[in-house]
């Protein structure tokens, strides 16, 4: 080519200069485990379904949620949401209201009649599930989806276990529970209610089951030995709640004392208020900091006029005089008696001091270890007996519905592996945690949490109407969009925008990005400016 005077080289693009060779560290896209997902006992991909909800695609969000948990409307009411406790947004303003979005999705699904995905072809394998509470129903759901035949038995006349017989209707309306259970049963489940299993091995062979999932819960209210007069009325909380659920509420009188400090004690006291008690007093041996009940529940109870007697124990119950003893915490935090007594009038005393599991059906199964009243299981949820798995309140656990649902899911996977004869699918490599310090919070809009409306106090003291309301669509969308998407790219284009060397390639909607290592100089701006901490800087091998 003819070049102008004094010009000796052709003009060229600087792209000939591969500045990537300057680099000593390279940015790499990663996915980290969001703290909500990490904390979810049911194993939900919370960040994942919030991401689907953010553009307003609620059905996709619900479908992603129900991949792991078939009870979003129930969870959105009764889950103690450890996800929100773990949420990174709490350090910025307030945790994302994950639970309320979950409820919104669950309610919408019921409203619109969305069906669960179709089940796989029949595997020819049969599984017996004993107990139709959250663990049993969750296992049933996952097993049916995998194509296994499920026979679900329960001694109660209705499905739901403690979700029906333990949790009061003001926290979980029965119509919601029924709708979510019906959806699972519609997948084709062989249900037998009012059927008590006395011998697990016999039941297993009768059913021709290849595997068994034992999820009988903890249905027996524990009693403590309190000296009581003949006419003193002493009940246990589990029976009270069960009878209320059966529409046969016991007579409690106007002055009701509940002894215990767990969620069941609070449920019993709030139920007593609704049954007409003017005084509902919870007597607990320790103080508020050491109370196992969840803070939200306690706040709601106090708001309804339930009163607390901290550091107090019941000494005896003489007809309508209850003798209480003051306690103090010793240096180890254990309550000790002080010898100081006081009296109060009471019409009934409800004991909420724990629950036990009826494991008489295991008497012939020598291989199954029972320790401290619960069944020992491996991480796969299998007991010592080959093919017998267990979960829910019957195994050592935090005894919440969410934990039970997680057990059901994990057991279903293990059972699937067991009956199919392949190795149990590992949980997959867990990503490293997406911690708050990895976020660049500058980029998130300021947005406080949307509160769910609460029923007016007066109204809920006398009825079993639901206490906590749901979010409107606008609010739910707002709440979903408060998610920081910790550790997972949400395509904000920041890395693509901030690279001084145009070395980030945008691959298109939901395809994310790629680094062009020919030109990336390794400055690390993309890492610093990624809002959600989804890029790592790693040393180059030189």
């Amino acid at each position: 080519m003819e070049l102008p005077f004094a010009i000796t080289l052709d003009v060229g693009s600087s792209r000939a200069n591969r500045t990537g060779s300057w680099r000593i560290e390279r940015p790499v896209y990663v996915d980290r485990l969001p703290p909500c997902n990490d904390a979810c006992p049911a194993g939900e991909d919370i960040q994942g379904w919030l991401y689907q909800a953010e553009p307003g695609d609620y059905e996709a969000a619900w479908r992603q949620l129900t991949e792991d948990n078939p009870f979003p409307a129930v969870m959105g009411r009764i889950c103690y949401h450890p996800c929100e406790t773990a949420c990174n947004r709490a350090e910025l303003d307030e945790a994302v209201g994950i639970n309320s979005v979950e409820r919104f999705l669950g309610d919408l699904a019921i409203d619109r009649g969305w069906a669960l995905p179709p089940v796989r072809d029949d595997s020819g394998k049969r599984v017996l599930v004993i107990g139709a509470g959250p663990a049993g129903l969750s296992a049933t759901y996952h097993l049916r989806r995998l194509g296994h035949h499920v026979r679900l038995v329960d001694s109660s006349p209705q499905l739901g276990g403690m979700m029906r017989y333990g949790i009061p209707a003001y926290r979980l309306p029965r119509s919601v529970l029924d709708a979510e259970i019906a959806r699972i049963i519609a997948l084709g489940v062989d249900v037998e209610l009012g059927h008590t299993v006395h011998d697990i091995e016999g039941e297993r062979s009768e059913s021709g089951a290849d595997a068994v999932f034992l999820a009988v819960g903890a249905q027996l209210g524990r009693r403590v030995d309190i000296p009581a007069g003949d006419s003193s009325r002493v009940l246990d909380a589990i029976s009270v709640l069960h009878r209320v659920a059966d529409d046969d509420p016991p007579m409690l009188g106007r002055r009701v004392v509940v002894y215990g400090g767990g969620d069941t004690a609070i449920d019993a006291a709030r139920t007593a208020r609704r049954l007409g008690a003017t005084d509902a007093v919870i007597v607990y041996r320790r103080n508020r900091e050491r109370m196992p009940a969840h803070g939200d529940e306690l706040e709601e109870a106090l708001g309804e006029g339930v009163t607390m007697r901290w550091l107090t124990t019941v000494n005896r119950f003489d007809n309508d005089r209850l003798v209480l003893e003051k306690m103090r915490l010793n240096d180890d935090g254990f309550p000790e008696p002080t010898g100081e007594f006081e009296e109060m009038g009471a019409d009934s005393l409800i004991l909420a001091v724990g629950q036990d599991t009826d494991l008489s059906l295991l008497e012939r199964s020598r291989g199954i270890a029972v320790d401290d009243g619960v069944v020992g299981v491996l991480p796969t949820m299998m007991t010592g007996e080959n093919g017998i798995f267990a979960g829910g309140d019957a195994v050592p656990s935090a005894r919440t519905a969410t934990v039970a649902i997680g057990h059901g899911r994990r057991a279903a996977r293990s059972i699937d592996a067991f009956v199919s004869g392949h190795a149990a699918e590992a949980d997959g490599e867990r990503h490293e945690l997406a911690t708050f310090d990895r976020l660049n919070t500058w980029y998130y809009s300021d947005a406080p949490r949307t509160r769910r409306p609460e029923l007016e106090r007066v109204r809920r003291q006398s009825t079993f109407d639901e206490v906590v309301g749901g979010l409107t669509e606008d609010n739910a969308l707002f709440e979903a969009r408060r998610c920081l998407s910790c550790g997972n790219c949400f395509e904000c284009d920041n890395c693509f925008g901030v690279c001084p060397d145009n070395a980030v390639i945008k691959l298109g909607p939901s395809q994310r990005y790629e680094i062009d290592y020919d030109f990336c100089k390794g400055c690390g701006i993309c890492v610093q400016e990624c809002p959600c901490g989804a890029i790592d800087m790693v040393p180059e091998r030189i």
Partner: protein, 342 residues
Amino acid sequence: MTTHPVRFYQVGSFAAGNRLLDDDQRSVQADPNRSNSLDSGHRACQGCGEALGARYALDAAMRATHGQLVAVNATGCLEVFSTPYPETSWRIPWLHSLFGNAPAVATGVAAAMKVKGRRDVRVVAQAGDGGTVDIGLGCLSGMFERNDDVLFICYDNEAYMNTGVQRSGATPPAARTATTEAVGPEPGNVFGQGKDLPRIAMAHDIAYVATATVADLHDLEQKVERAMELRGARYIHILVPCPLGWGSDPSATIRVARLAKETGLFPVFEAENGVVTSASPIRRRTPVEAYLSIQRRYAHLFGEHPHTEVIARLQAIADKNIETYGLLDDEAKQATPEGIDE
């Protein structure tokens, strides 16, 4: 109870893009088909703020002019790192001038386009702070006075970086440069000197003057777009941190620029016809130490015997900016998202 639709978009317009926003609400830089006026392979240092600022500004100008753009570039880092003979990183018509005469050359280009009847072709002149506030100030003032149809963009990295970090008229007080060493009783650059070019430009009563930083992309792009809507002389002053000259981490370029704005040391505002029309409010007010302490050019202010009185004087400058430009307005309003009924 009245209800309003919820307008809340997770990262709103803070990030470059946002899948929840319509395309036209995303930045030019979020567009996979952006012009990339300054191409890959340029020789700017790791984390160069000027390379970033130039692409931000020129890509926005390219969109605003539908690609009918000519750029005139004064001598300086930007010219040196983008065009080592015979290569070029520029994907737009681009002319290199002398250090001091870019405004005059741009005037000539604008005049030539006028003669040729090409009103659609727009002219941008660009220079670093040395070429703008010192060496090119005479030509620039003339260009402003004649109201030539040129947008002049100054990429301010607060010293002569290309030649080895010598002080310019835009170097801030107390900053160490090669010619203002951190020695003596008042180490670093002196207080009370230097030129505030945006205000000098405003004093010419030109159509448009604005400041911006590489930390707020949407703001920068809107200002370039606004400038291209107007005719006559216009001026945009963009703060572009220099990891080499400032002694900041290359990965911190945007963070440093953000802190310059959030501390109040670099007021971000716009003015039309000599009057300030808006200022970008501070979102998270930050003391100047946070900005100073991550730059080695201020390292002498810290350490075992910190110069607290110098830091206090710098804080006073920030406070005065906050007062002068009203940088704390609307802060409360920002904290509440629109349309939420509690």
